[in-house]
Symmetry: C2
Subunit: 334 residues, 2 copies
Amino acid sequence: MQKKQGKQSIVFANPPIITSTANIGGPMEGEGLLGNYFDHLIEDNLNNLCSWEKCESYMLEQVIKTAVNKENSEITDIDCVFAGDLLNQLMSTHFALRELSRPFVGLYGACSTMALSMLVGAMMIDGGFANKVAGAASSHHDAAERQYRFPTELGVQRPPVAQWTVTGAGAAILSATGQGPKITCATVGKIVDLGIKDPNALGPAMAPAAVDTLWQHIQDTGREPAYYDMIFTGDLGSVGKTMVIQLMQEKGLDISSNYEDCGCMIYSESQDAHAGASGCASSAVVFCGYLYQMLVAGKLNKILLIGTGSLHSPTSYQQKESIPCIAHAVAIEM
Amino acid sequence: MQKKQGKQSIVFANPPIITSTANIGGPMEGEGLLGNYFDHLIEDNLNNLCSWEKCESYMLEQVIKTAVNKENSEITDIDCVFAGDLLNQLMSTHFALRELSRPFVGLYGACSTMALSMLVGAMMIDGGFANKVAGAASSHHDAAERQYRFPTELGVQRPPVAQWTVTGAGAAILSATGQGPKITCATVGKIVDLGIKDPNALGPAMAPAAVDTLWQHIQDTGREPAYYDMIFTGDLGSVGKTMVIQLMQEKGLDISSNYEDCGCMIYSESQDAHAGASGCASSAVVFCGYLYQMLVAGKLNKILLIGTGSLHSPTSYQQKESIPCIAHAVAIEM
């Protein structure tokens, strides 16, 4: 069987099964629209730890452990962990993985990391190199804010296009055997940069990358958008989401009826998150909670999750560079 | 065939072939011990670009293109690129990949990235998901210095245990068919942290991770160290190298006669690099130049390349954390 399909896609011969997921959120996420779809909620953004980074690390460790427990495995049953976060040198991930002491591959896909970790993890399983792996991602609003923008405590006013980095984490266990939704195919993204330089406008910067990957997925697999019950992008927010619909329309495809963005599903209007949610945890908490539950309950049968990542750094911004973006897609079916 | 072997290792059913490699170095690397084993040398650390980060990006782009050219392929023949660097948010890698416009998976393994990129790339090929991929890594002394330690221009005095971050990059093309040395098996590392907190002492911090992976490789595969003509670690420098020999001796294995560290092979004594070379480019330039040529010439037949990475960040150092380290091993045989 030819597993490579078209230019950027792969089809799994023995689709890896997502046997379990877990997620965690902060106080604001708990008060949001998906508050009932979290395994854990922390009560404040420090969670009795001495830094936001350590709190993020705790969350990542917690979701991996919880996902493992949920399917009655031991952490030692996990052959490899694929994970990443937004912080410099993946700080949260590395300290979480130090505690877990499992074989580990660090990924940097910015906010596309959850989908990327499942994509690479699925290759490891379908390739026959592992029986069980974990894919995971995390972000923390306060830690991201001070790293990417301004000191968090300064409370600098944000423009309406800006999104709110999610405090949370998600983990998915991928297995060669077992019960659950399957990862049937995937499309590896390439970097797209249309020249946006405003690090507040990440949704608009990432939208063309999401469209590039979705379009390539359709070309490679022959699956029209209508094949999926729903297509989800990771964290484009309301502005980026509108752009995706419009850009697809320009290509002759109307996805307005079966497309949503995870970044538009987390916070309510009254929470004043401006254009929506962002961060690795945006797609991670939505997929590893609400979406996974909908799949298992049979309310969704076929979804395409397109993780979207903005790959700029504060240094590249200071050097007046535009924002390179990427999107990776995984098709998940019951 | 069982591809998973032991706890952390994998054996490839159809070992991917390293059909081509390329490397590039800075002026200091060109004057070093392996000066004749570079495809390109840049004349100064900026290479007529406006920042060290952009220079690093240029080098990474250059080696991938050169490696592709060397085996008479086109860049569009590359199904996926696996790459990373040391900079925050993989800045150099992302801007290089923006130019190359190929499907891309970003890896963060710090200085273990070259071995990690070949490990994950080999899984993609042996798993049947791609015909040809590239693995690549880069670092730049001046860019790394100011990010991790002090403003580079300040010229802060370095302790004798410190190593010198290599300015350079390396790329390897992995193919399902063709001629060249093969990646026969690999061991995925786990994070090891024995409590060292001094970010100048990265060799000593990483040595236990290298030993952990080497020891696990021996347990998993049954290959004694003597199976290999040579075992190479990535960038432990003279202090870390001595520790590896000693730690293996404590386990009852003498590797002193067939073990070397890439970080001890790049600079001459007179270049005053203190404990040796470090950075993603340390193992990348040595493997993609000298070692690959030795393999092709039949002067080496079986090597184990153990990429070693220090996963700390300036933030984790400021928060008084110790240094988590990792090592990934790939066995390369003619």
